[in-house]
Symmetry: C2
Subunit: 280 residues, 2 copies
């Protein structure tokens, strides 16, 4: 058995990459891993010769008032989890390695980044696209794996790869959920026990939307209305947005036409929880 190798510098990662034959599957993460991440790694491992995971809490995708400083971190636990699914390489660069003094190049994606999370978090997707482009260039994957939970991120990364002709495939993996349906997220750790209990309502609302759609409801406003009513029964839940869009450029739909993305953000205190389903 060959054990997992941890790498901290870009030069070493590039060197390790050059020594690899066969396709590399890559899973970029911000660490504090959960079952959802491990699903991505398992897919990467199954479909490629080598699986590379990066752990990097990317400062440029956080707004000035966001949770960059307090974003949860636990590298020893992450490494043990990654080893358990036979990860080959873990890339853990320092911020100064990724953004040296004078760094000044950005990947900007237009319209699809201006909506939903992009509207709520200005500059967020510019930060995501830029770091992902860099990581792709460093790791040189044949396939990169992202979780459907961050639906808009999936759309943005796919668009970047297509528009810039990046030589890799983006693979989207279904959301992994807790027993009560809550989508796994590193940020769930911010929830108090009572918030955590009430947070199950996100998936209930998405399931409701799916049910209404299956029953023939096509008016987006009516679906949103019923989701809103359901979520508002939880006293600690604050709806930030409920959105029904197409799945390509994320334009709001008045009349639902499959495939459609139903996505929502609900706040509990200062914690923003995201989730989505696709109506097929």
């Amino acid at each position: 058995m060959v054990s997992m190798k941890a790498i901290e510098t870009i030069a070493e990662m590039k060197q390790a990459r050059r020594a690899l034959a066969g396709p590399v599957g890559f899973v970029p993460t911000m660490g504090y891993l959960h079952e959802g991440h491990l699903e991505l790694v398992k897919r990467a491992k199954k479909e490629n010769t080598t699986a590379v995971v990066s752990i990097f809490v990317n400062p440029i995708q956080f707004g000035p008032k966001e949770d960059f400083q307090k974003y949860p971190r636990d590298i020893p636990r992450d490494l043990a989890m990654l080893e358990s699914v036979n990860t080959d390489f873990v890339f853990l660069p320092q911020a100064a390695e990724i953004y040296p003094p004078g760094f000044d190049t950005w990947v900007e994606i237009g319209k699809v980044t201006e909506r939903l999370e992009g509207a709520a978090r200005p500059g967020h997707f510019r930060g995501v696209a830029t770091v992902v482009a860099k990581l792709f260039n460093i790791v040189g994957p044949a396939r990169a794996y992202f979780g459907q939970k961050d639906a808009q991120q999936c759309v943005v990364i796919k668009k970047m790869v297509k528009d810039l002709n990046m030589p890799l495939e983006v693979v989207i993996v279904p959301t992994v959920r807790e027993a009560d349906g809550l989508a796994m997220s590193s940020r769930n750790v911010y929830l108090t026990p009572e918030e955590r209990r009430q947070a199950a309502v996100l998936y209930q609302a998405l399931t409701l939307a799916q049910g209404l759609y299956v029953q023939g409801e096509r008016e987006a406003s009516r679906i949103r209305q019923q989701m809103t009513a359901l979520i508002q029964k939880q006293p600690l839940a604050r709806i930030e947005y409920i959105s029904i869009t197409d799945t390509e450029i994320l334009e709001e739909l008045a009349i639902v036409k499959a495939p459609a993305l139903v996505s929502l953000v609900v706040r509990f205190g200062t914690t923003r929880l995201l989730d989505n389903v696709v109506l097929e």
Copy 2:
């Protein structure tokens, strides 16, 4: 002898690339080739197993009032010239192949694109960086070759490659000049015979700057003054800018400190001529 292969689609270019072993040297051009381009190809050929040249007049790097439509084109002549220097592949995509409907991803480089040509041509370097990033992803070169004549473009591309960790080396090749010193450029064809005669003054002014520097002059304003006086002796010449900057972030210098980039743009009618020298 294997003859040169011309390729028009991205899919075919990527497929051809995958079949190549050994390093690829890449020369991106806008066609209407001259000796300067052929120098780049010769270097690419010498330092790599395979030389790929692209010919693509990139619409997004031209401003709305610029010369995109009338930019000179002569593909048959270009192909003959490229064959004469043993080019392996010529990539000639259509604009709709590079920018399909909905294209919306951009590579933006900050400060170094805001000055000089970036100030004179807003959006120009965004267009250059974006197409070059795409071409790099399509062609997958180990080395890419650019002419020193477009000095700021060289700085911008090097910065992009460094900041985004692109897995290739940028090679800058000295400017090739006509007998009277005029830098070779596809746009020289726009000049009337009289303008062409007077255009030799650009290189004379740069040579003057170099001479003054060698003699100990360090005041940038005095060097610019003497260059201005020399150029103004040519009645058809209109100076757009004369600039003396560092060679990394292109900040104007009051006191010249090597290495410094002396660059200038002089207009003859509507034709903008660029040139530069580096004071070492």
